[in-house]
């Protein structure tokens, strides 16, 4: 059974033939489309390393069957930077030393981008921690991650205000 699906990935339209419906969105990105920035940690929806934006919302790509996402828009860590310029969330992670080994970082950053777009947490560090609890960091860089998310949110809202002005 061959199944053809169309996805927009980081702004580029892709058509993919799936020989087998068992392929997850995570495996499709990593194994078929050479987008290995998205990481496979637990592969069971528990660690958040595979977080991507699907139609603008953060999800665990390890639990999403690729075939079921036909027509969707996907943004991965590779789609954030503008050329050589880091996305504000990436820049804030560097500024706040929000990682050690880096394995969870793409998922943390994609989750933070999703969280900021959701607009629910304000400037409350407790709400940021709760909103980021689906992303585990075994190096324990949580303090830096929380600071980075708060700073990125501030800089994005300032940029938004400038753009609107």
């Amino acid at each position: 059974m061959s199944l053809s699906i169309a996805l927009t990935i980081n702004g580029t339209q892709r058509t993919v033939e799936l020989e087998d419906p068992r392929v997850t969105l995570l495996d499709l990105l990593r194994e078929r489309l050479d987008l290995t920035g998205t990481k496979k940690g637990c592969d069971r929806g528990q660690c958040g390393a595979c977080t991507v934006l699907l139609d603008g919302r953060r999800i665990n790509s390890c639990l999403a069957l690729a075939v079921s996402q036909d027509g969707a828009e996907v943004v991965t860590i590779e789609g954030l930077a503008q050329g050589e310029t880091c996305h504000p969330v990436q820049a804030a992670f560097i500024a706040h030393d929000a990682f050690q080994c880096g394995f969870c970082t793409p998922g943390q950053i994609m989750s933070a981008v999703g969280l900021i777009q959701e607009g629910q947490v304000g400037d409350d560090p407790e709400r940021v921690r709760e909103g980021m609890s689906g992303n585990l960091c075994r190096c324990g860089a949580y303090r830096g991650i929380t600071e980075a998310v708060l700073e990125a949110q501030r800089s994005l809202s300032q940029a938004g205000r400038k753009e609107a002005a």
Binding site: P21, I59, V67, Q120, D124
Partner: protein, 352 residues
């Protein structure tokens, strides 16, 4: 994961027809199903993808003040819906205390009702499990069972239903709309899940091929909006299933409880409506003595299924605290840690 056929029907009736074939399973977001398939715990021969079916993605206010929630509405959308969070705040709090933001963005209403137990023996194909393989036995009975059921369990199965969302739904008289080959029918949420008895593999009233299409909350449930809370004790601060939880909803008139609703989570194979506790609260003042008496009534039938006697007293205390929080009033904004016993307590001490 086993091989399977993938079908994406265009309508509810096509879906129901396709899923009536033996070995079929519905796929919505897949946040539980794909996990179970990866572990070899379930191995459907055919997945019927209902994630795009038209008409199932709406939250519709009803003329009676209630709300009809389509089965594929996402947990996050439901929790942040202005009507739901205003009229049924315990539902929003329960949803936001469950899983992670990523999972809440994907997981659906129908899938939440039908999620499987997180019993570790159910999840381990090398263990005996009557639910996974009828007649195989239950390794949980003599195993690590501190988190297992204390109400409604049987010798065949001591697993619990893991949903947070279903707990306030049971308390608030929610109704499940079901579509099958024989047409549409409705079942009270409280009757939707089955206790294990001798057939723990049967977890709900759904017949093969039947599809949950919506959940309805009646307008009468909105009268508790000013005094409605969900409280959930977990083994870590966030992103964990309940050890025990409680939804408490009070309708207070002139300083007296006119009507109370109480349901418990994490204690049985279904969300546990505590009707004797509700009766004990009707017409009394909302104070700790009455809350304690109601909690005693709620757990009167409880007995340990293993190394979990502590859950009975814990459930009483969570019920008392949920009732006290409800009496103190629904907060204007949900706390940073929804449903958490670690959240600040309005009005101070609850241990009086």
């Amino acid at each position: 994961m086993n091989r399977f056929d993938y079908i994406r029907p265009a309508t509810v009736s096509e879906a129901v027809a396709a899923a009536a074939a033996p070995g079929s399973a519905y796929l919505a977001a897949g946040t539980n199903l794909i996990d179970l398939m990866k572990g070899g715990i379930v191995s459907p021969q055919r997945l019927v993808d209902v994630s795009r079916l038209p008409g199932l993605d709406r939250i519709e206010p009803l003329p009676d003040g209630g709300v009809r929630i389509g089965a594929r509405v996402r947990n996050a959308d439901l929790a942040h819906d202005p009507t739901v969070s205003k009229r049924f705040p315990a539902v929003a709090e329960a949803l936001l205390s469950g899983a992670s933001a990523q999972l809440r963005n994907a997981a659906t209403v129908g899938g939440n009702l039908l999620q499987r137990t997180r019993c570790a023996y159910f999840y381990d194909p090398a263990s005996a499990c009557n639910k996974r393989q009828p007649g195989a036995g239950c390794d949980a009975r003599g195993g690590e069972n501190r988190l297992h059921a204390v109400l409604g369990w049987s010798e065949s199965c001591i697993a619990t239903h893991p949903s947070d969302f279903c707990v306030p739904l049971a308390a608030l008289d929610a109704v499940v709309e079901i579509e099958g080959q024989a047409g549409r029918r409705e079942v009270a949420l409280e009757e939707f899940h089955l206790l294990p008895g001798t057939t723990p593999e049967r977890e709900s009233v759904l017949a093969p091929g039947e599809l949950v299409v919506a959940v309805r909350l009646p307008g009468a449930a909105a009268r508790f909006a000013a005094h409605a809370r969900y409280l959930k004790l977990r083994e870590r601060t966030s992103y964990a299933f309940a050890v025990v939880s409680a939804a408490a909803c009070l309708h207070i008139e002139d300083g007296v409880i006119a009507e109370a609703r109480l349901a418990l989570g994490g204690v049985a194979a279904k969300p546990w409506r505590a009707r004797t506790a509700e009766a004990a609260l009707a017409g009394v003042r909302p104070n700790s003595e009455h809350f304690r008496r109601a909690a005693e009534a709620a757990l009167a039938e409880a007995r340990p299924s293993g190394d979990n006697a502590f859950k009975i007293e814990l459930a009483r205390r969570i019920a008392v605290r949920a009732l006290a929080l409800a009496a103190a009033g629904t907060p204007e904004r949900l706390p940073a840690l929804p449903a958490s016993p670690f959240a600040p307590i309005p009005g101070g001490a609850l241990h009086g």
